[in-house]
Symmetry: C6
Subunit: 75 residues, 6 copies
């Protein structure tokens, strides 16, 4: 993604979900710009149930934004 978000809508819920994950990660990259530190922190959340649930919560908020924009599952 290279810190740059797409301007066109994502056509399917699965692609929208992937965009939501990218949106969640983008804050991490912008707040902790050092990739070595991010890599070092990875097991802290990827092997921790509560951290994974917290990541899921952030993705849920972004997915809500995309789903409302694109109208997933409407009508």
């Amino acid at each position: 993604m290279d810190n740059c978000l797409p301007t066109r809508p994502t056509p399917t819920p699965t692609e929208g979900y992937d965009l939501a994950i990218e949106l969640a990660r983008m804050t991490i990259k912008k707040t902790q710009a050092d990739p070595a530190v991010r890599e070092r922190l990875r097991p802290d959340y990827a092997e921790n149930a509560d951290s994974l649930i917290s990541v899921s919560a952030v993705v849920a908020t972004h997915f809500a934004t995309i789903a409302a924009a694109k109208g997933y599952w409407r009508g």
Copy 2:
């Protein structure tokens, strides 16, 4: 679900709720791709009250998205 979301609306609140749970789990699967690690983490949240409440919070956000799209309980 196989990491692929449905494109058709879910007809009932109960089915929508199940989709919300799948949406919540999808981040976990995509962030921690190793099923053995996920299995090992399971008791960490399934036997922990606060973790279960956190999972419920994520599902609530996804259910809001689906309920708004499908119009559950409207009119």
Copy 3:
């Protein structure tokens, strides 16, 4: 509720609030299917202020969904 959600709208805010509580609990039941474990975990949240506040947060999200659908307090 028996893991099955109503399809008709709840007529009053009080009934909608009760539905929101059921929606919050439904994830717990589906994630931790063993009633004995759930019973054992009960004091962990029912006698813990922070856990009770977290439950209240989940209910607030579900109540928002129901209130928007049903139009509580509008006009």
Copy 4:
């Protein structure tokens, strides 16, 4: 409030905010029905900064519901 929510809209933001606080408390009362336990837990959150912030988060979600219904600060 006696576990029963009003059906009429609250006319001002200040009254709506008070209703939001009641909505947040209602889950606590319904999850922990014993007033003696609730009283005992009170210092755990009323004298703890993080718990107070968490209560404030729940109230914010409920206030959003009421403000959207009543149209506070619109137009």
Copy 5:
């Protein structure tokens, strides 16, 4: 603010943001009415990164309410 919210819309995003901060603080004041206790708790959150992030989350929810009402950044 004196525990009383304005009834007129805030004209700019900056003023709306200040109102969001007041809305977040109002729950603290109403839940912990003793100003001496609140003062004593202040370093617990003002010098703690996670607490400051939590305060920011509450303000974000209130700001969403105000921005939607007032139509900040629309069209």
Copy 6:
């Protein structure tokens, strides 16, 4: 940003995302006005996975506000 928010809409999702980050930071600056303390706290969240996820959650809420206003990814 200087504690003053823009009044014009941000034209692209990437610029909107940057505004969301500024909105998240603004509460920190207003709650902890001392830049030396904020600087001292920085490693507490920038080198902590759970804190970074929490920051990401706040940004997600602000981004939802901006995306809805600006209509990112619509139609």
